[in-house]
C-alpha cells in the first residue's frame, strides 16, 4: 500500500471504533501539523473552504456530531479514531458536549458529511487588554466587552514577548495588551486561558 491512499476512503472507513481504523494507524498520525504539511490546499483565495465547518453542537449520536453553523448552515461531522480533538487541551471524544462551539477541519465526503481530521471545541483567540487581575483570574476588555479569563494553575501558560512559555502569570499587568488562546464557557462571558501572549 502506498501512502497516497485516498483520504476520503480512509476517513470514511475510519469511523470511531470501527474496523477501518487500522488503516489510519498504518498511514501514521492524522494530527494537524503532520497532516497539513502533507496535503496541498486547493481552495481559491477568498473562497469558502468546503473542508472546514464551524458552529455549535446540536446533537451527538454515536460518532456523529451535528453542528448548527453560525451562518445557518447545518453540518454533519464524522469523528474517527484518527480525529485530533482539542478542548482546552488535547482530549477525547467523550468530552464534547451539546452546546459546544466548534471549528472542524477534515475531508468532505460525497454525502456531504465532513470527516474530521481536527476538531477544536470552544476555542477562542482574542486580543484584549487587562482591566484587573485577581487570584487566578484576569478581567479582560475585548472590543469593549468584559470577559472573565480563568487561569488554570498547572495548565495555563504565559508567553512574555516571545520568550518560552512559563506557568507564572504574575508578570501580567493591568492595562497591558494580551492575546489569549482559551476555551469559552458556553453561553457565558467566561473563558479558561490556555496560553496568554503578553505584549511589551
Amino acid at each position: 500500500m502506498t501512502t497516497t491512499m485516498d483520504r476520503r476512503r480512509l476517513l470514511s472507513t475510519a469511523v470511531l471504533g470501527g474496523a477501518g481504523i487500522a488503516g489510519a494507524t498504518a498511514l501514521g498520525s492524522l494530527a494537524p501539523e503532520a497532516a497539513l504539511a502533507a496535503e496541498p490546499v486547493k481552495v481559491s483565495p477568498g473562497a469558502p473552504d468546503p473542508n472546514f465547518a464551524e458552529g455549535r453542537v446540536t446533537s451527538i449520536t454515536g460518532s456523529v456530531v451535528l453542528l448548527a453553523g453560525s451562518d445557518g448552515a447545518l453540518h454533519r461531522i464524522q469523528v474517527t479514531n484518527g480525529t485530533s480533538i482539542w478542548k482546552f487541551q488535547p482530549t477525547t471524544f467523550d468530552r464534547l458536549e451539546k452546546g459546544d462551539g466548534m471549528y472542524v477541519r477534515g475531508v468532505r465526503l460525497p454525502d456531504g458529511t465532513l470527516a474530521a481530521d481536527s476538531l477544536w471545541a470552544n476555542i477562542v483567540n482574542l486580543t484584549a487588554h487587562i482591566v484587573s487581575v485577581g487570584r487566578n483570574v484576569l478581567h479582560l476588555d475585548h472590543h469593549g466587552r468584559r470577559l472573565i479569563g480563568h487561569v488554570v494553575p498547572g495548565t495555563t501558560a504565559a508567553v512574555y514577548n516571545g520568550t518560552p512559555a512559563i506557568s507564572d502569570v504574575s508578570l501580567l499587568r493591568v492595562g497591558g495588551h494580551v492575546q489569549v488562546i482559551g476555551v469559552w464557557h458556553p453561553d457565558t462571558n467566561e473563558i479558561s486561558i490556555a496560553t496568554v501572549y503578553a505584549a511589551n
Binding site: 497539513l36 490546499v41 483565495p45 445557518g72 477544536w120 483567540n125 469559552w184 501572549y197 505584549a199
Partner: protein, 136 residues
C-alpha cells in the same frame, strides 16, 4: 514584493459563536471565518495609522481589500492563499515579538488568517506561528 518574514495568528469574523459573535465582517465588509481570507496591517491609510508595523521595523506595502497573499507556515512548510478582508493585526502592540520553530523564526505580527485558512496550515491551538508572506 519580496517575501516578508514575521508571525501569523488567526481571528474570527462574520457570523460566529461566543466572544467572536461581536466581531462583524471586517473592514472590507466581506470577512467570514470559513473563507480563505486574512487581515493585513496596511489595508488603508486609516488602517496603517492603527497597526503601525513600520514602528516595529517591518514596513509593509499598501494592499487593499481582495488582494491575495500567500502565507507559509515556517514550522511545516504548509502554504495557503488568502485575500484581504480586514485590517490587522495591530503589530505595534507586540513590537519585537518573536515566534520560532527550532531555528525558523519570525519577528512581528504581519498577518492574521481566518480560522479556515489558519487551520489549513497549522492547528488553531498553536495561536501563533513564524511565517513568510509573499504575493506569488
Amino acid at each position: 514584493m519580496a517575501a516578508v518574514t514575521g508571525e501569523v495568528s488567526w481571528f474570527c469574523c462574520g457570523s460566529a459563536w461566543g466572544p467572536c459573535a461581536s466581531t462583524g465582517r471586517g473592514a472590507c465588509g466581506t470577512c467570514t471565518s470559513g473563507n480563505f481570507q486574512h487581515a493585513w496591517p496596511n489595508a488603508s491609510a486609516a488602517c496603517l495609522a492603527i497597526t503601525r508595523p513600520d514602528v516595529c521595523g517591518t514596513p509593509l506595502s499598501r494592499r487593499t481589500c481582495g488582494f491575495v497573499h500567500y502565507t507559509t507556515n515556517l514550522c511545516n512548510g504548509a502554504r495557503v492563499g488568502t485575500s484581504i478582508a480586514d485590517c490587522g493585526p495591530q503589530t505595534d502592540l507586540f513590537c519585537g515579538e518573536r515566534a520560532c520553530c527550532g531555528s525558523a523564526c519570525g519577528t512581528n505580527r504581519i498577518i492574521d488568517l481566518t480560522p479556515a485558512a489558519y487551520s489549513a496550515i497549522a492547528s488553531l491551538s498553536t495561536g501563533l506561528r513564524p511565517c513568510s508572506v509573499d504575493t506569488v
